[in-house]
Amino acid sequence: MKQIVDLTIIDTVKIGDAYSIIRCTSKDILPEMKPGQFASLKIENNPKVFLRRPFSIHDYDKTENTVAFLIKIVGEGSRTLTELKRGDTVNAVLPLGNSFHFDAKGKSLIVGGGCGIAPIYFLAKCMKEINADFDIIIGGRTCNDLLCLDNLSTLSTTFCATEDGSKGSKGFVTDIPALSNNLSQYGKIHCCGPEGMMKAIAKTAVANNVFCEASLENTMACGIGVCLCCVTKTVHGNECVCSKGPIFNVKELAW
């Protein structure tokens, strides 16, 4: 069930200049959350921000009653969030949207790019819990954009690529052999990242007849499917990313 909750920040960790992970708890029991879902966070004390901002559930720990967000600073809203300190509160509507359709059948591939790594970590954790067999690929412009690499590596084999070659293989994630040559070893691909990256993956996946789902971004107002502002073109017409997504089977998308 969706809830409006006041989250209390437990800690914030800066990753380089552009990213921050904020971990929160609540005095009430947080609702159950699934990987791929997101929260809509209210930005306080910033006259330049009017609407809430959507952020994926980066981590959720039921026993500890915590939820974490990985935030890339791109504008006023994200900057204000990363400036919050331990003890501050942030109002959230959560959990929103659908979730990744993962399972333990066959081998799966998870691909994350840039801040698209946010939901990937939670997904990988959940897949590990059900003993699924999966590989992870993450990519970024430079090694500074390879977020959570160490944590991900503890969960499964993790390949990485950077555009400048500062870490992993030089180039795009789609240049990594697992994706470029060996795709049919996988039963499912789950990806989240820049649209260009996801489109490239979708293309190969469709060509190889592999199930592929992508987590889309979009500017949102309501986050719950009522304002119809966040649509993406699908084979069924315009669909709301916030309520029908954010995870879409790439075959449904009018890409």
Partner: protein, 303 residues
């Protein structure tokens, strides 16, 4: 105990807080957050005769204390509404108000006629003010003659309370209000969104796919309030005031200016349970000011 009930003509509301069309879906999307039957009414999202896919993405731009939308009346059409949606609304124990839209008088008449047959539709709000469609929409709401013509046509097929939702994009709002009143409207709701534009300076492109869209939110409140005041002086049918209402104080302001009830739109996006805060605040206000019937507030502005 404050009596919060108000009447919009023959339409009885348990309280003056209604949710605005296009900002509250069909109501049940908010059921997780609060008991929606506590609302005075719910205006469901616009229904047109034919299914509409709306405008291309992007449809949203954030602005200072507001937002611009360019949804363009996306909906699955009146037949889908009747067969697939209506039955879910029947369970909601408050006034469900249909928002009728379209690009021709005939298509609006068709929708109104079908809505008129549904028992649990408490009233019809005719939207003659959508800035996001190429034909019709706002064009009806910006002309005295056209607004009369379409109102009269809908009146013909509508035995339920008929509310006309006016466009604020006009020189003389009172003139339009008087025109729809004389055409048989039972009430007026105002305002719809203001035609506006947002530009991405770095990309040197409009932010919205449609270049222009409709501005809503607190930014427009002072203008909306002025229009409610002007219309209140000009007509004798009840007014439902809206435009940027975020809290109980805003709601009181609209009532003082002449509104019998109010609608809450964009604020639902910022806080999905905002209407319950407003309701509570309204009750507190009435208690503090020793008001027995909330309807006493309507037009009570002291000059």
């Amino acid at each position: 105990m404050v009596n919060l009930a108000v009447n919009i003509g023959s339409l009885k509301l348990k309280n003056p807080i209604i949710t605005a069309s296009g900002t509250f879906g069909y109501g049940y999307e908010y059921e997780d957050f609060f008991d929606i039957s506590r609302l005075g009414g719910i205006v469901v999202k616009a229904t047109t005769a034919e299914p509409r896919d709306g405008n291309p993405y992007p449809r949203l731009a954030e602005t200072p204390s507001g937002m611009i939308n360019a949804v363009g009346l996306q909906n699955k059409g009146v037949n889908y509404f009747v067969s697939e949606i209506y039955n879910k609304l029947e369970k909601i124990d408050t006034n469900i108000i249909a928002n009728v839209s379209g690009s021709t008088v005939e298509s609006c008449v068709e929708v109104a006629r079908k809505m008129n047959e549904l028992d649990h539709i408490a009233a019809i709000e005719l939207n003659i003010s959508c800035p996001n469609v190429k034909e019709g929409g706002m064009a009806f709401g910006t002309s005295v003659k056209e607004s009369y013509r379409i109102t009269a046509s809908i009146r013909n097929v509508c035995s339920k309370p008929l509310i006309i939702k006016l466009s604020p994009n006009v020189t003389n709002i009172a003139e339009i209000a008087m025109s729809v009143e004389s055409a048989g409207a039972d009430a007026i709701s105002l305002v719809n969104t203001f035609l506006a534009m947002a530009i991405d300076a770095e990309k040197q492109k409009p932010i919205l796919s449609t270049i222009t869209g409709g501005l809503s939110g607190p930014a427009i409140k002072p203008i909306a309030l002025r229009m409610v005041w002007q219309v209140h002086k000009a007509v004798s049918i009840p007014i439902i005031g809206l435009g940027g209402i975020m809290n109980a104080t805003d709601a009181v302001e609209f009532m003082l200016a002449g509104a019998t009830a109010v609608q809450v739109g964009t604020a639902n996006f910022i806080n999905p349970a905002v209407t319950m805060d407003i309701l509570k605040g309204l009750e507190d206000y009435a208690t503090r000011h020793m008001i027995e019937n909330i309807s006493e507030l309507t037009g009570a502005l002291q000059l």
